[in-house]
Amino acid sequence: MNGVHDMGGMHGLGPVAPEADEPIFHAPWEARTLALTLAVGAWGKWNIDASRHARELIPGAYYLGMRYYEKWLTALVSQMLQTGLITAEELASGRPDPGSPKADPPLTPERVDPALRRGGPADRPAEREPRFQLGDRVRARNLNPTGHTRLPRYVRGRSGVVEQVHGAHVFPDTNAHGLGERPQPLYGVRFTARELWGDAGHPHDVVRLDLWEAYLERA
C-alpha cells in the first residue's frame, strides 16, 4: 500500500536527532509492549508480515506522530481483536468475558531463550531456478498494490543491477494476508543514486535493496 510508512526519499520529516546515552527503553510500558507483542505472537495467529501490515494500517496522520512502541501496541490490539484472541468487550472492561476458558500461555519463561535464538527464518527450499542472475540489469516494476508490499515507491520504475541472489524467501505480499508463503527468489539489487534521485543523487553513491522476483522485470 502507498502509505506514509513508505517514506524513503521524503523531505520535511525533520533532522535526525540522536540522543546521548539513550536507554534501551524510555519507560516501562515500552518494554512491556515489546514483550507482550513477542509473547502473544507465540500463539502463531499471525506472522511477521501481517504484523508489519497491521502497523502500516495505522492512519497516516497518527502513524507519523506516534512513538515506535505506540505503533506496536496499536497493531497488537488490532491483531488480537481481529483473530479473536480478545473481544472488544474484554478490551473495554479489562476483564475476561464471563465464562471464557483460561488458556495456557505457549511462551513460558524457559521457552523464551530458545524461541528468540530460533527466530523465524524466511528462506525456503527453491521450487525453481531464479529468473535473474548476478550482473543482470533489472527494472523494479511499477506496482501499486493496496495490500502489503516491500517494494518501496522510490525504486518503482527504476533500473538496477542484480548483485546478490539470496535464494527463495517467503513472499510478504501474500504471507501478510494469509494467502500463503509462496516463496520466490530474492535478489540484492543495486541502484545508483543518480538513477533514483536524478541530479540530487551523488555521482558515486548507490542504494541497495532486497527485492523479490515478482517486483522485477528485465531492463
Binding site: M7, L34, A61, L64, R118
Partner: protein, 212 residues
C-alpha cells in the same frame, strides 16, 4: 487527536493531553492484566524477554564479531562471504538476525544501513534499535541524503568515497564492518571490541583511534 510530537520525543505532553505517557502506560498495564487473566501470556516470560534485550543482547555482541574479523583474516573472509554461520559461531543469531550480511567499510567505500519501510535492525548483534534509527527523519533521508545524515552524526566523507546505503526491505539484516582505527596494532581482541560502537556498525559513524 493528531499527535503533534515527533516520534523521538518522549517528553510529557501538556497541550490537550493527547496520549500522554501516563495514558499509554495505563493502557499497556490494563492490557497485560487482561492477557494474564485470560492465560494468553505468562508475566514471567515477559520479564525474561525484557531481561534478554536489556542485559544479554546488544551492540557488545556485534563488537565481538567485528574484533574477531579484524584479528582473524580467515574468519573475516568467511564473514564477508556469508555472515550468518560465522556470527552463530560466536553465539549470536535468531530473531531479527536469521539471515545476516556483513558489509565492509574501506577508504573507498562507506556503508550505511536503514529500513525505510519500518525499522528492521539486526537484533542479535546490535540489540534493539535506538529511537533515531526508527525516526521518520532517518528512514526518509538515509536513502536520498546519506551524506547529509552522516554529517549530522559528525561523519564527513570525501567526495571520492562511494556511499552504499542498504535498505533492509526483506528479512536479510546488515551489519557494517568498520575500518580498524590506526594505532591499534598491539591491542587484544577484547580491547579492540571495546573500541567498536553501535553507530559505527550501523554506518553513521567512523571509529576514532584510541585516545584520539
Amino acid at each position: 487527536m493528531a499527535h503533534d510530537h515527533p516520534d523521538h520525543d518522549d517528553h510529557p505532553h501538556d497541550a490537550a493531553g493527547q496520549h500522554p505517557p501516563s495514558d499509554v502506560a495505563l493502557r499497556v498495564q490494563a492490557l497485560e492484566s487482561l492477557l494474564v487473566d485470560k492465560g494468553l501470556v505468562d508475566p514471567d516470560a515477559l520479564d525474561a524477554i525484557i531481561d534478554t534485550y536489556e542485559h544479554k543482547v546488544g551492540p557488545r555482541n556485534g563488537a565481538r564479531v567485528v574484533a574477531r574479523a579484524w584479528t582473524d583474516p580467515a574468519y573475516k573472509a568467511r564473514l564477508l562471504a556469508d555472515a550468518t554461520g560465522p556470527i552463530a559461531e560466536l553465539g549470536y543469531g535468531g530473531r531479527q538476525g536469521e539471515h545476516m550480511v556483513v558489509v565492509e567499510n574501506t577508504p573507498q567505500v562507506h556503508n550505511l544501513v536503514v529500513c525505510t519501510l519500518c525499522s528492521c535492525y539486526p537484533w542479535p548483534v546490535l540489540g534493539l534499535p535506538p529511537v533515531w534509527y526508527k525516526s521518520n527523519a532517518y528512514r526518509s533521508r538515509a536513502v536520498i541524503d546519506p551524506r547529509g545524515v552522516l554529517a549530522e552524526f559528525g561523519t564527513r566523507l570525501d567526495d571520492e568515497v562511494e556511499v552504499r546505503v542498504w535498505d533492509s526491505t526483506a528479512e536479510v539484516r546488515y551489519l557494517v564492518l568498520p575500518e580498524r582505527p590506526a594505532g591499534t596494532e598491539g591491542l587484544s581482541e577484547e580491547d579492540l571490541a571495546a573500541l567498536v560502537t553501535r553507530d559505527a556498525m550501523v554506518g553513521v559513524a567512523k571509529l576514532a583511534a584510541p585516545g584520539g
